[in-house]
Protein backbone atom coordinates (compact mmCIF):
# COMPACT_ATOMS: atom_id res chain seq x y z
CA UNK A 1 0.00 0.00 0.00
CA UNK A 2 1.35 3.43 -0.93
CA UNK A 3 1.37 6.00 1.89
CA UNK A 4 -1.12 8.91 1.70
CA UNK A 5 0.27 12.31 0.68
CA UNK A 6 -1.05 15.45 2.39
CA UNK A 7 -0.36 19.23 2.20
CA UNK A 8 -0.29 20.88 5.60
CA UNK A 9 0.10 24.46 6.82
CA UNK A 10 2.88 25.32 9.29
CA UNK A 11 0.10 26.95 11.37
CA UNK A 12 -2.24 23.95 11.19
CA UNK A 13 -5.74 23.79 12.62
CA UNK A 14 -6.44 21.24 15.38
CA UNK A 15 -8.68 19.39 12.90
CA UNK A 16 -5.91 19.11 10.31
CA UNK A 17 -3.59 17.65 12.93
CA UNK A 18 -6.21 15.24 14.20
CA UNK A 19 -6.73 13.91 10.67
CA UNK A 20 -3.11 12.77 10.33
CA UNK A 21 -2.25 9.09 10.66
CA UNK A 22 1.07 7.42 11.44
CA UNK A 23 3.03 6.91 8.21
CA UNK A 24 1.24 9.65 6.22
CA UNK A 25 3.52 11.69 3.95
CA UNK A 26 3.27 15.43 4.54
CA UNK A 27 4.36 18.50 2.52
CA UNK A 28 4.45 21.84 4.34
CA UNK A 29 3.45 25.38 3.34
CA UNK A 30 4.13 28.54 5.33
CA UNK A 31 6.80 29.80 7.71
CA UNK A 32 8.99 27.41 9.66
CA UNK A 33 11.87 28.17 12.01
CA UNK A 34 14.91 26.16 13.03
CA UNK A 35 15.63 25.77 16.72
CA UNK A 36 17.96 23.28 18.38
CA UNK A 37 20.13 23.29 21.52
CA UNK A 38 21.66 26.72 20.88
CA UNK A 39 18.28 28.43 20.51
CA UNK A 40 16.70 26.47 23.37
CA UNK A 41 19.46 27.35 25.80
CA UNK A 42 19.51 31.02 24.78
CA UNK A 43 15.73 31.46 24.83
CA UNK A 44 14.84 29.25 27.79
CA UNK A 45 17.84 29.28 30.10
CA UNK A 46 19.24 32.74 29.29
CA UNK A 47 15.69 34.10 28.84
CA UNK A 48 16.40 35.96 25.59
CA UNK A 49 13.40 37.48 23.80
CA UNK A 50 12.31 35.28 20.89
CA UNK A 51 12.46 37.50 17.79
CA UNK A 52 9.23 36.13 16.22
CA UNK A 53 5.53 36.08 16.99
CA UNK A 54 4.91 32.46 17.94
CA UNK A 55 2.74 30.55 17.22
CA UNK A 56 0.82 33.01 14.99
CA UNK A 57 3.68 33.30 12.49
CA UNK A 58 4.71 29.68 12.74
CA UNK A 59 3.90 26.63 14.81
CA UNK A 60 6.58 24.51 13.11
CA UNK A 61 9.91 23.97 14.87
CA UNK A 62 12.51 22.28 12.66
CA UNK A 63 15.46 20.54 14.33
CA UNK A 64 17.87 21.48 11.62
CA UNK A 65 20.93 23.41 10.64
CA UNK A 66 20.84 24.23 6.95
CA UNK A 67 23.76 24.29 4.54
CA UNK A 68 23.60 28.03 4.02
CA UNK A 69 25.73 31.11 3.78
CA UNK A 70 25.28 34.76 4.58
CA UNK A 71 26.70 36.83 1.72
CA UNK A 72 28.74 40.00 2.17
CA UNK A 73 25.66 42.08 1.23
CA UNK A 74 23.62 40.41 3.98
CA UNK A 75 21.55 38.24 1.63
CA UNK A 76 21.25 34.48 2.19
CA UNK A 77 21.85 31.41 0.08
CA UNK A 78 20.42 28.15 1.24
CA UNK A 79 21.26 24.80 -0.32
CA UNK A 80 20.52 21.49 1.29
CA UNK A 81 18.42 21.20 4.45
CA UNK A 82 18.68 18.15 6.70
CA UNK A 83 17.26 17.47 10.14
CA UNK A 84 19.21 16.49 13.19
CA UNK A 85 18.29 13.80 15.75
CA UNK A 86 15.58 15.12 18.06
CA UNK A 87 15.85 12.82 21.08
CA UNK A 88 18.65 15.04 22.43
CA UNK A 89 16.26 17.97 22.83
CA UNK A 90 13.71 16.30 25.12
CA UNK A 91 15.15 18.30 27.99
CA UNK A 92 13.93 21.62 26.56
CA UNK A 93 10.93 20.70 24.43
CA UNK A 94 8.14 20.71 27.07
CA UNK A 95 8.97 24.28 28.10
CA UNK A 96 9.53 25.33 24.49
CA UNK A 97 6.13 24.03 23.39
CA UNK A 98 4.38 25.72 26.24
CA UNK A 99 6.10 29.02 25.52
CA UNK A 100 5.79 29.03 21.72
CA UNK A 101 2.68 26.94 21.02
CA UNK A 102 4.62 24.78 18.55
CA UNK A 103 2.32 22.16 17.02
CA UNK A 104 4.69 20.49 14.57
CA UNK A 105 8.06 19.30 15.78
CA UNK A 106 10.08 18.32 12.75
CA UNK A 107 13.34 16.45 12.92
CA UNK A 108 15.20 13.18 12.63
CA UNK A 109 14.22 9.97 14.35
CA UNK A 110 11.29 11.10 16.48
CA UNK A 111 10.92 10.90 20.25
CA UNK A 112 9.57 8.17 22.54
CA UNK A 113 5.86 7.51 23.04
CA UNK A 114 6.48 8.61 26.62
CA UNK A 115 7.49 12.06 25.32
CA UNK A 116 4.50 12.15 23.00
CA UNK A 117 2.05 11.22 25.74
CA UNK A 118 3.50 13.50 28.39
CA UNK A 119 3.84 16.79 26.48
CA UNK A 120 3.05 16.47 22.77
CA UNK A 121 -0.54 15.29 23.22
CA UNK A 122 -1.44 17.84 25.95
CA UNK A 123 -0.12 20.60 23.66
CA UNK A 124 -2.00 19.23 20.62
CA UNK A 125 1.29 18.67 18.84
CA UNK A 126 2.66 15.90 16.65
CA UNK A 127 6.07 14.88 15.31
CA UNK A 128 7.05 14.89 11.65
CA UNK A 129 10.19 13.08 10.63
CA UNK A 130 12.29 13.93 7.60
CA UNK A 131 12.85 11.06 5.19
CA UNK A 132 16.00 9.12 4.55
CA UNK A 133 17.44 11.00 6.36
CA UNK A 134 19.59 12.51 3.71
CA UNK A 135 16.94 14.14 1.50
CA UNK A 136 18.56 17.55 1.90
CA UNK A 137 18.41 18.55 -1.75
CA UNK A 138 14.69 17.69 -2.05
CA UNK A 139 13.86 19.66 1.09
CA UNK A 140 15.99 22.53 -0.23
CA UNK A 141 13.64 22.74 -3.22
CA UNK A 142 10.79 23.45 -0.82
CA UNK A 143 12.52 26.55 0.53
CA UNK A 144 10.84 29.47 -1.25
CA UNK A 145 13.08 31.95 0.50
CA UNK A 146 14.96 32.59 3.71
CA UNK A 147 12.97 35.21 5.60
CA UNK A 148 15.50 35.93 8.31
CA UNK A 149 18.28 34.52 10.40
CA UNK A 150 18.41 35.40 14.08
CA UNK A 151 21.18 35.10 16.64
CA UNK A 152 23.74 33.85 14.10
CA UNK A 153 26.47 36.07 15.50
CA UNK A 154 25.96 34.68 18.94
CA UNK A 155 25.22 31.06 18.05
CA UNK A 156 27.01 30.47 14.71
CA UNK A 157 25.43 29.51 11.38
CA UNK A 158 24.61 25.94 12.44
CA UNK A 159 22.81 26.87 15.68
CA UNK A 160 21.18 30.12 14.53
CA UNK A 161 17.40 30.51 14.24
CA UNK A 162 16.65 30.42 10.52
CA UNK A 163 13.19 31.48 9.37
CA UNK A 164 12.21 29.74 6.16
CA UNK A 165 9.23 30.27 3.84
CA UNK A 166 8.19 26.79 2.67
CA UNK A 167 6.35 25.92 -0.46
CA UNK A 168 5.37 22.26 -0.64
CA UNK A 169 8.42 21.40 1.41
CA UNK A 170 8.84 17.70 1.97
CA UNK A 171 8.52 14.82 2.13
CA UNK A 172 8.02 14.37 5.88
CA UNK A 173 6.52 11.31 7.60
CA UNK A 174 3.96 11.54 10.39
CA UNK A 175 5.72 9.80 13.29
CA UNK A 176 3.30 10.48 16.15
CA UNK A 177 -0.43 11.10 16.51
CA UNK A 178 -2.78 12.76 18.99
CA UNK A 179 -3.11 9.50 20.92
CA UNK A 180 0.65 9.59 21.53
CA UNK A 181 1.40 6.56 19.33
CA UNK A 182 4.92 6.32 17.95
CA UNK A 183 5.56 5.11 14.39
CA UNK A 184 9.11 4.00 15.13
CA UNK A 185 8.11 1.99 18.19
CA UNK A 186 5.42 0.29 16.13
CA UNK A 187 8.05 -0.74 13.56
CA UNK A 188 10.55 -1.77 16.27
CA UNK A 189 7.98 -4.13 17.75
CA UNK A 190 7.48 -5.85 14.39
CA UNK A 191 11.23 -6.24 13.85
CA UNK A 192 11.78 -7.51 17.41
CA UNK A 193 10.05 -10.74 16.40
CA UNK A 194 13.14 -11.65 14.33
CA UNK A 195 15.73 -11.11 17.06
CA UNK A 196 15.83 -14.66 18.32
CA UNK A 197 16.32 -16.05 14.82
CA UNK A 198 19.13 -13.73 13.76
CA UNK A 199 21.07 -14.01 17.04
CA UNK A 200 20.82 -17.79 17.12
CA UNK A 201 24.14 -19.45 17.93
CA UNK A 202 25.86 -16.27 19.17
CA UNK A 203 26.79 -15.76 22.80
CA UNK A 204 27.62 -12.64 24.81
CA UNK A 205 31.19 -11.32 24.45
CA UNK A 206 33.83 -12.69 26.80
CA UNK A 207 34.60 -9.20 28.13
CA UNK A 208 31.52 -7.29 29.19
CA UNK A 209 31.07 -3.52 29.31
CA UNK A 210 29.32 -1.33 31.83
CA UNK A 211 25.89 -0.78 30.46
CA UNK A 212 25.57 -4.53 29.90
CA UNK A 213 25.77 -4.62 33.67
CA UNK A 214 24.44 -1.46 35.28
CA UNK A 215 25.77 -2.40 38.69
CA UNK A 216 29.15 -0.66 38.97
CA UNK A 217 30.08 -3.01 41.78
CA UNK A 218 30.18 -5.82 39.17
CA UNK A 219 33.26 -6.87 37.28
CA UNK A 220 33.13 -6.91 33.47
CA UNK A 221 34.79 -10.31 33.05
Amino acid sequence: MKPREIRLSTTPTPEAIAALRLGDIVYLDGLMYTAREGVYIYALEDKANIPMELPSQSAANFHCSPAARINADGSFDMGAVTATASFRFAKWLPEWMEKTGAKLIIGKGGMSSKDYKSYFVPNGAIYLSTVGYGTGALLGRGVERVEAVHWNERLGLAQAMWVIKCNKMGPFIVASDLQGNCLFERENAKIAQNIERIYEGTKPAVLKRYGESDDRADEVI
Binding site: A80, V131, G134, G136, A137, G156, P171, N188, N194, K203
Partner: protein, 318 residues
Protein backbone atom coordinates in the same frame (compact mmCIF):
# COMPACT_ATOMS: atom_id res chain seq x y z
CA UNK B 1 56.72 18.93 -9.68
CA UNK B 2 52.99 19.12 -8.85
CA UNK B 3 51.83 22.75 -8.68
CA UNK B 4 50.28 23.92 -5.40
CA UNK B 5 47.59 25.97 -7.19
CA UNK B 6 46.48 22.86 -9.01
CA UNK B 7 46.22 20.98 -5.71
CA UNK B 8 44.01 23.77 -4.32
CA UNK B 9 41.74 23.99 -7.40
CA UNK B 10 41.38 20.22 -7.66
CA UNK B 11 40.65 19.89 -3.95
CA UNK B 12 37.93 22.54 -4.19
CA UNK B 13 36.32 20.71 -7.12
CA UNK B 14 36.52 17.42 -5.19
CA UNK B 15 34.75 18.93 -2.18
CA UNK B 16 31.93 20.02 -4.47
CA UNK B 17 31.73 16.72 -6.34
CA UNK B 18 31.71 14.71 -3.11
CA UNK B 19 28.91 16.83 -1.66
CA UNK B 20 26.71 16.81 -4.78
CA UNK B 21 27.28 13.68 -6.87
CA UNK B 22 26.50 10.30 -5.36
CA UNK B 23 29.19 7.78 -6.42
CA UNK B 24 27.95 5.41 -9.10
CA UNK B 25 28.72 2.17 -7.26
CA UNK B 26 26.60 3.21 -4.26
CA UNK B 27 23.90 4.66 -6.52
CA UNK B 28 23.59 1.35 -8.40
CA UNK B 29 23.49 -0.50 -5.07
CA UNK B 30 20.68 1.69 -3.81
CA UNK B 31 18.73 1.26 -7.06
CA UNK B 32 18.96 -2.51 -6.64
CA UNK B 33 17.78 -2.13 -3.05
CA UNK B 34 14.83 0.03 -4.13
CA UNK B 35 13.80 -2.62 -6.65
CA UNK B 36 13.91 -5.47 -4.14
CA UNK B 37 12.36 -3.61 -1.20
CA UNK B 38 8.85 -4.70 -0.24
CA UNK B 39 8.18 -2.74 2.95
CA UNK B 40 5.89 0.19 1.91
CA UNK B 41 7.47 2.79 4.15
CA UNK B 42 11.05 1.73 3.46
CA UNK B 43 10.26 1.63 -0.28
CA UNK B 44 9.00 5.18 -0.07
CA UNK B 45 12.20 6.25 1.69
CA UNK B 46 14.48 4.61 -0.89
CA UNK B 47 12.58 6.21 -3.76
CA UNK B 48 12.83 9.60 -2.05
CA UNK B 49 16.59 9.11 -1.72
CA UNK B 50 16.92 8.31 -5.43
CA UNK B 51 14.90 11.45 -6.22
CA UNK B 52 17.15 13.38 -3.87
CA UNK B 53 20.33 12.40 -5.73
CA UNK B 54 18.76 13.66 -8.97
CA UNK B 55 17.65 16.91 -7.33
CA UNK B 56 21.15 17.47 -5.93
CA UNK B 57 22.76 17.01 -9.34
CA UNK B 58 20.21 19.17 -11.18
CA UNK B 59 20.30 21.98 -8.63
CA UNK B 60 24.05 21.62 -7.93
CA UNK B 61 23.05 21.52 -4.29
CA UNK B 62 24.56 19.33 -1.54
CA UNK B 63 22.70 16.01 -1.40
CA UNK B 64 22.48 16.18 2.39
CA UNK B 65 22.26 19.30 4.52
CA UNK B 66 24.53 17.68 7.07
CA UNK B 67 28.08 17.93 5.75
CA UNK B 68 29.26 15.19 8.07
CA UNK B 69 32.97 15.62 8.68
CA UNK B 70 34.88 16.47 5.52
CA UNK B 71 38.29 14.81 5.56
CA UNK B 72 41.14 13.98 3.20
CA UNK B 73 43.06 10.90 2.25
CA UNK B 74 46.17 11.55 0.19
CA UNK B 75 48.11 8.91 -1.62
CA UNK B 76 51.50 9.64 -3.12
CA UNK B 77 53.46 7.69 -5.65
CA UNK B 78 57.01 7.21 -4.40
CA UNK B 79 58.42 9.66 -6.94
CA UNK B 80 55.82 12.41 -6.43
CA UNK B 81 57.20 15.88 -5.75
CA UNK B 82 55.07 18.72 -4.49
CA UNK B 83 55.65 22.42 -4.94
CA UNK B 84 56.23 23.81 -1.45
CA UNK B 85 56.45 20.33 0.05
CA UNK B 86 53.95 18.65 2.35
CA UNK B 87 53.26 21.75 4.41
CA UNK B 88 52.04 23.56 1.28
CA UNK B 89 49.90 20.55 0.40
CA UNK B 90 48.20 20.62 3.80
CA UNK B 91 47.66 24.37 3.57
CA UNK B 92 46.04 23.95 0.13
CA UNK B 93 43.69 21.24 1.44
CA UNK B 94 42.66 23.36 4.42
CA UNK B 95 42.09 26.41 2.22
CA UNK B 96 40.06 24.36 -0.26
CA UNK B 97 37.91 22.94 2.54
CA UNK B 98 37.11 26.43 3.82
CA UNK B 99 36.49 27.87 0.34
CA UNK B 100 34.19 25.03 -0.75
CA UNK B 101 32.23 25.34 2.50
CA UNK B 102 31.37 28.90 1.49
CA UNK B 103 30.97 28.29 -2.26
CA UNK B 104 28.71 25.19 -2.43
CA UNK B 105 27.51 26.07 0.36
CA UNK B 106 28.16 23.29 2.88
CA UNK B 107 27.06 23.38 6.45
CA UNK B 108 29.96 24.35 8.69
CA UNK B 109 29.90 21.38 11.03
CA UNK B 110 33.22 21.57 12.80
CA UNK B 111 33.34 23.10 16.25
CA UNK B 112 35.67 22.96 19.25
CA UNK B 113 34.61 20.00 21.43
CA UNK B 114 34.42 22.05 24.62
CA UNK B 115 34.01 25.70 23.68
CA UNK B 116 31.87 24.98 20.59
CA UNK B 117 33.85 27.64 18.69
CA UNK B 118 32.73 27.57 15.05
CA UNK B 119 34.90 29.13 12.34
CA UNK B 120 32.03 28.61 9.88
CA UNK B 121 34.39 26.92 7.43
CA UNK B 122 34.86 23.30 8.57
CA UNK B 123 38.47 24.02 9.53
CA UNK B 124 39.88 23.96 13.06
CA UNK B 125 42.22 22.03 15.32
CA UNK B 126 42.83 18.67 13.63
CA UNK B 127 40.10 19.41 11.08
CA UNK B 128 39.96 18.37 8.33
CA UNK B 129 41.83 15.15 9.07
CA UNK B 130 44.50 14.43 6.47
CA UNK B 131 45.78 10.87 6.22
CA UNK B 132 48.49 9.54 3.96
CA UNK B 133 49.34 6.43 2.03
CA UNK B 134 52.14 5.65 -0.40
CA UNK B 135 52.61 3.49 -3.46
CA UNK B 136 55.93 2.09 -4.64
CA UNK B 137 55.70 3.61 -8.09
CA UNK B 138 54.44 6.81 -9.68
CA UNK B 139 54.98 10.56 -9.71
CA UNK B 140 51.28 11.39 -9.15
CA UNK B 141 49.23 12.13 -6.09
CA UNK B 142 45.67 10.98 -5.42
CA UNK B 143 43.45 13.35 -3.48
CA UNK B 144 40.42 11.71 -1.90
CA UNK B 145 37.67 13.85 -0.39
CA UNK B 146 35.33 12.03 1.98
CA UNK B 147 32.42 13.66 3.80
CA UNK B 148 31.68 11.05 6.41
CA UNK B 149 28.28 11.34 7.98
CA UNK B 150 26.86 9.55 10.93
CA UNK B 151 27.47 10.53 14.53
CA UNK B 152 25.70 7.24 15.10
CA UNK B 153 26.54 3.90 13.58
CA UNK B 154 30.15 3.38 14.63
CA UNK B 155 31.35 1.31 17.53
CA UNK B 156 34.45 -0.46 18.84
CA UNK B 157 34.84 -3.53 20.99
CA UNK B 158 37.77 -5.56 22.26
CA UNK B 159 36.86 -9.14 21.40
CA UNK B 160 39.10 -12.12 22.08
CA UNK B 161 40.03 -15.20 20.08
CA UNK B 162 37.60 -17.22 22.21
CA UNK B 163 34.75 -14.97 21.06
CA UNK B 164 35.35 -16.43 17.60
CA UNK B 165 33.31 -15.88 14.48
CA UNK B 166 30.06 -15.94 16.46
CA UNK B 167 31.37 -13.08 18.59
CA UNK B 168 32.11 -11.07 15.45
CA UNK B 169 28.59 -11.69 14.16
CA UNK B 170 27.02 -10.78 17.45
CA UNK B 171 28.84 -7.46 17.76
CA UNK B 172 28.02 -6.70 14.13
CA UNK B 173 24.33 -7.39 14.75
CA UNK B 174 24.41 -5.38 17.99
CA UNK B 175 25.75 -2.36 16.09
CA UNK B 176 23.12 -2.64 13.36
CA UNK B 177 20.31 -3.15 15.86
CA UNK B 178 21.45 -0.27 18.06
CA UNK B 179 21.95 2.29 15.32
CA UNK B 180 19.51 1.00 12.70
CA UNK B 181 16.45 1.65 14.85
CA UNK B 182 14.76 4.88 13.79
CA UNK B 183 17.34 4.92 11.02
CA UNK B 184 19.94 6.68 13.13
CA UNK B 185 22.68 5.26 10.91
CA UNK B 186 20.90 6.59 7.78
CA UNK B 187 20.92 3.13 6.29
CA UNK B 188 21.06 1.28 3.97
CA UNK B 189 24.76 1.90 4.34
CA UNK B 190 28.15 0.62 3.34
CA UNK B 191 29.23 -1.13 6.52
CA UNK B 192 32.96 -1.13 7.14
CA UNK B 193 34.48 -3.54 9.62
CA UNK B 194 37.97 -3.29 11.04
CA UNK B 195 39.41 -6.44 12.55
CA UNK B 196 42.72 -6.44 14.38
CA UNK B 197 45.38 -3.79 14.58
CA UNK B 198 45.84 -1.81 17.77
CA UNK B 199 42.77 -0.02 19.12
CA UNK B 200 43.21 3.15 17.06
CA UNK B 201 44.22 1.26 13.92
CA UNK B 202 41.23 -1.03 14.33
CA UNK B 203 39.00 2.05 14.09
CA UNK B 204 41.02 3.36 11.16
CA UNK B 205 40.77 0.06 9.28
CA UNK B 206 37.00 -0.10 9.70
CA UNK B 207 36.54 3.53 8.75
CA UNK B 208 38.64 3.04 5.63
CA UNK B 209 36.77 -0.18 4.79
CA UNK B 210 33.53 1.82 4.76
CA UNK B 211 34.68 4.99 2.99
CA UNK B 212 37.59 3.91 0.75
CA UNK B 213 36.16 0.72 -0.71
CA UNK B 214 33.37 0.65 -3.27
CA UNK B 215 30.14 -1.33 -3.34
CA UNK B 216 30.91 -4.67 -4.99
CA UNK B 217 34.62 -4.67 -4.11
CA UNK B 218 36.03 -7.75 -2.40
CA UNK B 219 38.80 -8.29 0.09
CA UNK B 220 41.74 -10.02 -1.62
CA UNK B 221 41.64 -12.88 0.91
CA UNK B 222 38.90 -15.19 -0.40
CA UNK B 223 37.87 -16.28 3.08
CA UNK B 224 37.42 -12.68 4.18
CA UNK B 225 35.54 -11.97 0.95
CA UNK B 226 33.18 -14.83 1.80
CA UNK B 227 32.68 -13.37 5.29
CA UNK B 228 31.85 -9.99 3.71
CA UNK B 229 29.08 -11.64 1.68
CA UNK B 230 27.82 -13.54 4.68
CA UNK B 231 27.64 -10.41 6.84
CA UNK B 232 25.90 -8.44 4.08
CA UNK B 233 23.22 -11.14 3.90
CA UNK B 234 23.00 -11.37 7.70
CA UNK B 235 22.45 -7.62 8.02
CA UNK B 236 19.72 -7.72 5.41
CA UNK B 237 17.96 -10.60 7.15
CA UNK B 238 17.22 -8.57 10.29
CA UNK B 239 13.96 -7.40 8.74
CA UNK B 240 14.92 -3.76 9.15
CA UNK B 241 15.17 -1.29 6.29
CA UNK B 242 15.63 2.42 5.73
CA UNK B 243 14.76 4.59 8.75
CA UNK B 244 14.33 1.47 10.86
CA UNK B 245 11.05 0.63 9.13
CA UNK B 246 10.22 -2.97 8.34
CA UNK B 247 12.23 -3.91 5.28
CA UNK B 248 14.99 -6.02 3.81
CA UNK B 249 17.70 -3.49 2.96
CA UNK B 250 19.99 -2.46 5.76
CA UNK B 251 23.41 -3.08 4.25
CA UNK B 252 24.30 -2.13 0.68
CA UNK B 253 27.65 -3.84 1.08
CA UNK B 254 29.89 -4.98 3.91
CA UNK B 255 33.64 -4.41 3.57
CA UNK B 256 36.20 -5.88 5.95
CA UNK B 257 39.82 -4.83 6.40
CA UNK B 258 42.24 -6.55 8.72
CA UNK B 259 45.54 -5.79 10.42
CA UNK B 260 47.77 -7.92 12.61
CA UNK B 261 46.86 -7.52 16.29
CA UNK B 262 48.09 -8.53 19.73
CA UNK B 263 48.16 -12.30 20.03
CA UNK B 264 45.70 -12.19 22.93
CA UNK B 265 43.01 -10.05 21.35
CA UNK B 266 40.68 -9.61 18.38
CA UNK B 267 39.60 -5.96 18.36
CA UNK B 268 36.69 -5.10 16.09
CA UNK B 269 35.15 -1.87 14.86
CA UNK B 270 31.97 -1.24 12.87
CA UNK B 271 31.31 1.86 10.76
CA UNK B 272 28.35 2.92 8.62
CA UNK B 273 28.85 5.03 5.51
CA UNK B 274 25.38 6.49 5.19
CA UNK B 275 22.81 7.21 2.46
CA UNK B 276 25.03 10.14 1.52
CA UNK B 277 28.14 8.05 0.88
CA UNK B 278 30.19 11.01 -0.27
CA UNK B 279 33.59 10.43 -1.80
CA UNK B 280 35.40 11.90 -4.79
CA UNK B 281 38.89 11.21 -6.06
CA UNK B 282 41.36 12.89 -8.39
CA UNK B 283 44.80 11.91 -9.60
CA UNK B 284 47.14 14.81 -10.34
CA UNK B 285 50.25 14.41 -12.46
CA UNK B 286 53.26 16.74 -12.58
CA UNK B 287 52.42 17.74 -16.19
CA UNK B 288 49.16 19.27 -14.94
CA UNK B 289 46.79 16.48 -15.96
CA UNK B 290 43.92 15.79 -13.56
CA UNK B 291 41.68 12.74 -13.75
CA UNK B 292 38.53 12.48 -11.62
CA UNK B 293 37.02 9.22 -10.44
CA UNK B 294 35.00 7.88 -7.48
CA UNK B 295 36.90 4.68 -6.62
CA UNK B 296 39.71 5.54 -4.19
CA UNK B 297 41.47 2.25 -5.05
CA UNK B 298 43.17 2.57 -1.68
CA UNK B 299 43.64 -1.07 -0.73
CA UNK B 300 46.27 -2.10 -3.22
CA UNK B 301 48.50 -5.15 -2.66
CA UNK B 302 51.10 -2.75 -1.26
CA UNK B 303 48.68 -1.44 1.41
CA UNK B 304 47.86 -5.01 2.45
CA UNK B 305 51.45 -6.25 2.34
CA UNK B 306 52.41 -8.95 4.83
CA UNK B 307 56.14 -9.24 4.30
CA UNK B 308 59.14 -7.35 5.70
CA UNK B 309 60.24 -5.96 2.37
CA UNK B 310 58.21 -5.22 -0.70
CA UNK B 311 59.07 -7.46 -3.65
CA UNK B 312 56.20 -6.98 -6.05
CA UNK B 313 57.58 -9.29 -8.69
CA UNK B 314 58.06 -12.17 -6.30
CA UNK B 315 54.58 -11.67 -4.78
CA UNK B 316 53.03 -11.58 -8.23
CA UNK B 317 54.76 -14.85 -9.17
CA UNK B 318 53.57 -16.64 -6.04
Amino acid sequence: MIANDLVFDTAKTLMEKAAIEIPQDYHEGLKRAAKSEEGDLSSFVLQAMLDNYEAAKQDRSAMCGDTGVPRWFVKLGNEAQLEGGMVALEAALRRATAQATFDVPLRPNRVHPLWRTDHNNNVGIGAPEIEYGFEPEGDWIDLISVHKGGLFGSDYRMLFPSDGMQGIKRFYLDSLMAFGKRGLACQPAIIGIGLGGSKDICMTLGKRASVLRTVGSKNSDPRIAALEDELTALGNSIGMGAMGFVGSNMVIDCNIEVGYCHTGGMPMSVHAFCLSSRRAVARIWPDGRVEYRTDPDWFTPYQRRETVDWHPLREAAE
